[in-house]
Symmetry: C2
Subunit: 365 residues, 2 copies
Amino acid sequence: MRFRLLATDGRARLGLLETPRGVIRTPAFMPVGTAATVKAMMPEAVRASGAEVLLANTYHLMLRPGAERVARLGGLHRFMGWPHPILTDSGGFQVMSLGRLATVTEAGVAFRSHLDGSRHLLTPERSIAIQRLLGADIVMAFDECTRHPATHAEAARSMRLSMRWAERSRAAFLEGGPQGAALFGIQQGALFEDLRRESAERLVAIGFEGYAIGGLAVGEGQQAMFEVLDYAPAQLPPDRPRYLMGVGKPADLIGAVLSGVDMFDCVLPTRSGRTAQAFVAGGTLNLRNARFAEDGAPLEEGCPCPTCARFSRAYLHHLFRAGEILGPMLLTTHNLWHYQQLMAGLRAAIAEGRAHAFARARLAA
Amino acid sequence: MRFRLLATDGRARLGLLETPRGVIRTPAFMPVGTAATVKAMMPEAVRASGAEVLLANTYHLMLRPGAERVARLGGLHRFMGWPHPILTDSGGFQVMSLGRLATVTEAGVAFRSHLDGSRHLLTPERSIAIQRLLGADIVMAFDECTRHPATHAEAARSMRLSMRWAERSRAAFLEGGPQGAALFGIQQGALFEDLRRESAERLVAIGFEGYAIGGLAVGEGQQAMFEVLDYAPAQLPPDRPRYLMGVGKPADLIGAVLSGVDMFDCVLPTRSGRTAQAFVAGGTLNLRNARFAEDGAPLEEGCPCPTCARFSRAYLHHLFRAGEILGPMLLTTHNLWHYQQLMAGLRAAIAEGRAHAFARARLAA
């Protein structure tokens, strides 16, 4: 994997992440395909929206259908009909979201499946093995996402555990050779600049193909997140991609790109697509609202997506009111296009040295 | 609307139904788009399966979003993004399926909405008006679908009511001019040949652009249905299309085509697509079955559909187990292709004078 920095505009970066399965233009937004499907979307429609890489979830896939099964079926790309790059998370974030069902030790995380209560142990070594079985192009180090709020002592203890796991993740990844895949380390340290710096230095000492900023978008609020993003990206190597995990709303993405972040993933456009929430310039629309019942306009004037090209707000309103599957299908399509159009707009603006003007115009809309 | 009979093979017929919105090759299968959507399908994917005409349901659309609202939004074709022909049913079958909620009088059927309990009256005149508001290319006469089982006296009373309603439907349809649409009459008479004949004669005396065979596939069983189909099509004019309503399984379609039927509609391929049932040569597969968990084969070997081209039974099994929307999307796609491939096979066989051999081979598979 090679990362080429094509242009910068302030701290914003335009890049190309070259992988054996295809090139990813950055800043990039990765739709989430939790259970080996971007919910309610045909894979070719995800690609048509502009997505060049997907995120899939280790936790969900290890439980169902199982990583070994996916491997026997030829790997995740073939299984889900997505021949382009896939990034898998480490499973750490999700097993720790299980709360009482999970126990963290130095070895890893013991947990019970939310599906059938069965016991499992996820360690750095097992997480990497699962991601290799799935066939991920970008593998994530196993880490603990520090809970919010955390004291300095709690955040330090948690971050240092993640750094020891990062070393074990790297060792497990290198065993057997890189096989064309890349491993990203994950910076932790909560909202503390000194801990973020320590984390970055330890990760760089280990050495990764890319670096993620973890532990944000966990309830700290946009202002606190932006405060961390004011220094965290610059703590990471400039010649490697930077990935802000689990973010976010369009305004979050814009702010993070201006801070030097290159990659994002979030369930928001897809989840909103299933709950009748449309992303449009300047905000969101709830399509269940009665005011759309006779609104013959498209969701968003000028939007090039297949939904806006052919269907009215009134039709989408009808589909959601009637509980029709086509409602989530059409609205997820639009939301993914909206996100990808935003990323394309940011990339063009960075290339032309007008990223801040673009951001101001978008945030004022 | 013009119907051209291109070839016959025994009683089986190959034809072209020319409408202002496009040509329909017969024998034709019409997917059902109850609430202005073929469930879980993008309209272009329905078209790509080979469908040249859809059925939409007057009962559902009059209640939600309402026929006047659809008309204000530019009609059903524009509303649902389907520029090709649409046939609407009369609503009669479905209001009578409401049972206790519906009361039949000479005027029509008074009923309460299954959605909100509101009171409505559906008459021949109102049914035709609704279908015109929707903008149907093929409008169906308002009729009573005779309940099964029915005595000769019950069937005669019911059929004669439908024939009086057929006259009122025709008068209502002609008021305001045909506007490029066609009106089909519906033969009733339950399982009684003399009543079917009387019904056919009364319909022909009124005069329709096409004729449907109603009151079958209501619990009488395939043998009883085929007995009626042994004489009923021949009671209808040979120069007009014949439409067997609500049928059916692939074997039903094959038998009915050999009996001289030209058009069909049924929810089976779409409904089965949402309940994990796949139509394949020789029967059906239940994709939830554990035996498919590691089955890397496509649903049906040699099937040209987009699902079989890219996805395995194991993937479909996973999607249904995980409750993913993509399961119904992919399986409905396959099932609609399966049905359209069957119709294409029947048309080719009729053209080449081998309809019975084709039928024998398909039924033996």
